[in-house]
Each structure stands twice: as C-alpha cells, then as structure tokens.
C-alpha cells in the first residue's frame, strides 16, 4: 500500500528500497533528503544520537518550521507503527491496490514485511551485511 499521489509524482518501489537501505551512498537523493532519512532512522533506532550537534546539521538544510514538520511526521509514524504492530493486523490493500481479506493479505505480506530494514538495522547494530530477520 503506497500513497497514490507519491506514486503519481514518480516514487517507485525501487526508490523506496534505495531510500531505506542505501540512502547514504545513493546518488538518487539530495543532501537534504539524506539527512531527513538519517533523522528518521535515528529517531527509530538511536534517538540518543539526535542531539544539539545533529540539529545544527539539520538546520543547515531545513528551516525550524520544516524541522518541526519533519519531526512531528516522524514521531507520529514511529508511535503509530509500533502501536499497530502490536494489534497484529494486515493491510487491507494489496501492493497492486486491491482491497483484500486479512487471510489474503497475510499470504501476500508474510509474517514480517519484505526487505526488512537491512541497511538501517545493519548500521544500528554494526552488523554490515546483516540478513533480513524473516523472509516468508
């Protein structure tokens, strides 16, 4: 399930995967986008690293208004995804945009999402080249 408007604007699954797993080395993303993705990654895995120095770096790329917007968006999603995970349900939309039953959705998405944070997880744990936790 993906934002229809983001898709219309040219966002593809390939770009999403690269933005999650390899944004640091990728030449597809601007420095502004890279630090936003780093902000999000740190918020999830290592929030203690988001300190004054990091905000000073952010301010080289974003206004205070934009930082508040990004931080609110990231915080909202960190909380919601954690809550929704505990409820143990599946998306009602299939990746190709069909409304599907929970049984079909589970068959499609498996017990864990695909492409499970290889890049960020490896960076956070120091395990370069770490394998996904689960692929079914």
């Amino acid at each position: 399930m993906r934002s229809a408007s983001a898709k219309r604007d040219g966002l593809t699954e390939e770009i999403i995967d690269e933005g999650i797993e390899n944004y640091r080395e990728s030449d597809r993303f601007t420095e502004n986008e890279k630090i936003a993705l780093e902000y999000s990654e740190l918020m999830q895995f290592e929030p203690e690293k988001i300190n004054g120095e990091f905000y000073a770096r952010l301010q080289e790329h974003y206004s205070s208004e934009e930082i508040v917007e990004l931080g609110s968006f990231i915080g909202f999603n960190v909380g919601y995804h954690t809550f929704f995970r505990t409820l143990d349900f599946y998306p009602m939309f299939s990746p190709d945009g069909r409304l599907v039953s929970q049984e079909e959705s589970r068959r499609i998405y498996g017990t864990r999402p695909t492409s499970h944070m290889r890049g960020p997880m490896a960076r956070a744990t120091g395990e370069h080249g770490a394998e996904p936790k689960n692929e079914d």
Binding site: S3, E41, N77, F89, M117
Partner: protein
C-alpha cells in the same frame, strides 16, 4: 487474527467515519485498516486521521520523501501496515 476486532468497511461507511474511510480507499494512504482498528473510538479515529493527513499531506517537506520515511518506519517496527 488481530488482537482487537477489525471492523468491516461496510459498517464503518455508515458511521461518521464514512467520509474518511472513502478517502482512505481513494488515496490508499493511510490504509483503511487505520479506521477498521481505531473505529471502535470514532471521535479519536477521526481526530487522528485529520492529524495524520496534516503531517503527511501538507507542509513544505516533499511528499515523496515523507512516503519513503513512512515505509522506512513501518518496516523498522515490523509493522505490516
């Protein structure tokens, strides 16, 4: 099996969440499961949907970047949603 009852979309469309469920189906984000789970508390589901739409669909930060972040965080939380 979800840990609380997942409400039917047909039912939700007859409640005050109906217009918001239709928007979810049209825009595909958030997934209508947002209301199927939270619709047990209609006022809260409506308020959180409006807040989500504000942080996701408005502002100066590029929407495509927000979508990448949204998927990044979903995967980080092992959230199938």
């Amino acid at each position: 099996m979800p840990n609380i009852t997942m409400l039917d979309l047909d039912y939700l469309e007859k409640t005050k969440l109906g217009p918001f469920v239709k928007k979810c189906i049209k825009h595909r984000a958030p997934d209508p499961a947002f209301h199927a789970m939270q619709g047990h508390n209609e006022e809260l589901s409506k308020a959180m949907y409006v807040a989500w739409g504000t942080v996701f669909n408005t502002g100066a930060v590029d929407h495509k970047l927000k979508e990448i972040i949204r998927v990044q965080l979903s995967r980080a939380a092992d959230c199938n949603y």
